[in-house]
């Protein structure tokens, strides 16, 4: 079945120059492997489309059940230069959690 990531993960995002970072954290440890399998850099890049002009990098943090993504050239020039209302990418966290992913049909989701 398909579910929105927000059912499986929480997240926080921020900025470094024109790059936004989004860390997504599994709400239960057992979700981590699903996130790792489903939330690939390619799919994140596709999810954001034109919003992310550069590449997407992914880093694994199994110790805290998290994946950290760097979205390059995603902030309209970044920080003080950008014309975007969300200049620091503070809300990109939940934009990523809108993504739909495949999970096993018998997965218990609270």
């Amino acid at each position: 079945m398909k579910v929105q990531l927000i059912k499986l993960a929480h997240a926080r995002s921020g900025d470094k120059g024109d790059t936004a970072n989004v860390g997504i954290i599994a709400l239960k440890p057992e979700y981590y492997e699903i996130l790792k399998k489903e939330v690939t850099p390619e799919r994140v890049k596709a999810h954001f489309g034109e919003m992310v002009k550069g590449p997407v990098q992914r880093f694994e943090m199994p110790n805290i059940d998290a994946l950290n993504f760097l979205l390059h050239n995603a902030l309209g020039g970044g920080g003080t230069t950008t014309l975007k209302h969300d200049a620091q990418g503070k809300t990109i966290s939940t934009a990523l959690l809108r993504m739909e992913i495949d999970v096993p049909d018998d997965l218990a989701i609270f």
Partner: protein, 454 residues
């Protein structure tokens, strides 16, 4: 050696809640208070203030805070470490000395950490072979040389430790890393060596948790913000540090907020790059080594942290003038709010063309519709209202001002049921952009000046 020390966060950025550090000192025991005031853009603002008055160039709010808080710090023997000194830490220290003298705290030791401001030495540094090229784009610094407004090296914990060893109770720094402010007291108290990488890395993790204030203790907490008690008086985080590098993240019981594994995790990933290489001047911390455990109510243990040797470079933050921006807005109400906002956008763009204004970028967003989430957000059928935001960026200030005059006239000349123009003409703002670079450590040395209040 003390069994443990408590390092409290009092400020996540310049403009954070004014009474948070006061609560940290008054509502329970702490040994150190750390306060972060600096962001990239802050340094250029401070440099401008200093150019107008050589006695300015620091966070003046901090002086206002010292009027209130210094008596508590003295009475409770709490040490304060802050980068509120901006581009003029010595002047900031002198302003604090004036307060301390007036209040009669003879013997109180104050320190300023400086030497990070390399604005006046840039040409000499470049001439002697330091490229200072942009870390992200590889561009030469010559492309912005005549537009530079500030240039600062990020120092680590070393000069702060030196100030502590000289007996300072109030330590005011320039551009010391946010994490270094929390690491320094651990090194000082526990006698950690400069090559005990795992312990130093643990201190850096403590710093990363402290540096954004309440973001580690229930603020901006996605997983459970509805559960966070008393956000109106949220308790900022406190790092309880132990000699072996174990940390307990906690907060004062009497204050609001929440510290659990989830709040700490959210802060750990904040503004994170490669988690295996969190580079600081003192150590490279490995965020994939961190282990967390809830060990009590509002108590999270952080342990098993690993670190690796530092690099041979300091990071340098250069700010430079990069043109102007102007963002105007109007609010359109039901019915057809989005259509009206889109029509307004079309009109403004045609006006820009008609008036012959040139910009590098024109950017439109519809707030209440998709400004935050863009194309990832589903369409909203028939919104009750939409805020039309249109921004321009460019180098021609006159064109900017003409653009600024174009927004409010839409109220009487454009689509109906429009409001939200109370602010009048939007402001034309200078853009101060940020240039990250690296500098060999031997090129610059931190300085520590310690004085006693008479």
């Amino acid at each position: 050696m003390r069994e443990f020390i408590r390092i409290a966060s009092g400020q996540g950025y310049w403009g954070d809640r004014f009474d948070a550090p006061i609560d940290q000192v008054r509502e329970g025991p702490i040994d150190y208070l750390m306060m972060d005031y600096l962001a990239e853009v802050t340094m250029s603002i401070m440099q401008k203030q200093k150019s107008r008055d050589p006695n300015l160039g620091y966070a003046k709010d901090f002086i206002r805070l010292m009027e209130v808080l210094l008596p508590d710090l003295v009475e409770k023997n709490v040490k304060l470490i802050t980068n509120a000194g901006g581009v003029n830490p010595v002047a900031c220290m002198i302003a604090v000395r004036e307060i301390a003298e007036r209040k009669g705290y003879g013997g109180l030791r104050l320190a300023a950490v400086y030497g990070d401001d390399i604005l006046n030495y840039l040409d000499a540094l470049i001439a002697s072979g330091n490229e200072l090229k942009n870390m992200e784009t590889g561009e030469s610094i010559q492309t912005i040389r005549n537009r530079i407004r500030s240039a600062n090296v990020y120092f680590g914990a070393r000069p702060v430790v030196e100030a502590l060893e000289q007996g300072a109770q109030i330590i005011i720094t320039g551009r010391v890393t946010d994490t270094g402010l929390t690491l320094a007291p651990m090194i000082h108290e526990f006698g950690w060596k400069w090559d005990e990488w795992d312990k130093l890395a643990a201190g850096i993790i403590g710093g990363h948790i402290n540096e954004c204030g309440a973001q580690a203790s229930g603020g901006n907490f996605l997983a459970g913000w509805k559960e966070v008690p008393k956000m109106e008086r949220i308790g900022f985080p406190i790092v309880e540090a132990y000699p072996d590098g174990t940390l307990i993240i906690t907060k004062h019981e009497s204050l609001g907020g929440l510290v659990d594994v989830r709040t700490v995790k959210e802060q750990l990933v904040y503004e994170l790059g490669d988690p295996k290489e969190y580079i600081t001047p003192d150590v490279v911390a490995d965020f994939t080594s961190i282990r967390l455990k809830q060990v009590g109510e509002n108590r999270v243990k952080v342990f098993d942290v690993k670190g690796a040797p530092f690099t041979e470079f300091y990071k340098v933050s250069v700010s430079y003038f990069d043109g102007f921006t102007c963002i105007g807005q109007l609010t359109y109400a039901w019915p057809d709010a989005l259509e009206k906002a889109k029509k307004a956008d079309e009109i403004i763009r045609k006006r820009i063309e008609y008036l012959g204004l040139t910009f590098e970028e024109i950017h439109t967003e519809f707030l209440g519709y998709n400004a935050c989430h863009g194309t990832t957000a589903p369409p909203v059928p028939d919104p009750n209202e939409v805020v039309f935001l249109i921004g321009v960026r460019g180098n021609n200030k006159k064109d900017m001002e003409k653009f600024a005059n174009e927004i409010v006239p839409l109220v009487l000349t454009g689509p109906p049921t429009v409001t939200g123009f109370g602010g009048g003409r939007p402001r034309v703002r200078e853009v101060i952009a940020y240039w990250p670079a690296l500098l060999k450590k031997e090129e610059v040395a931190p300085k520590v000046l310690t004085i006693s209040v008479i």
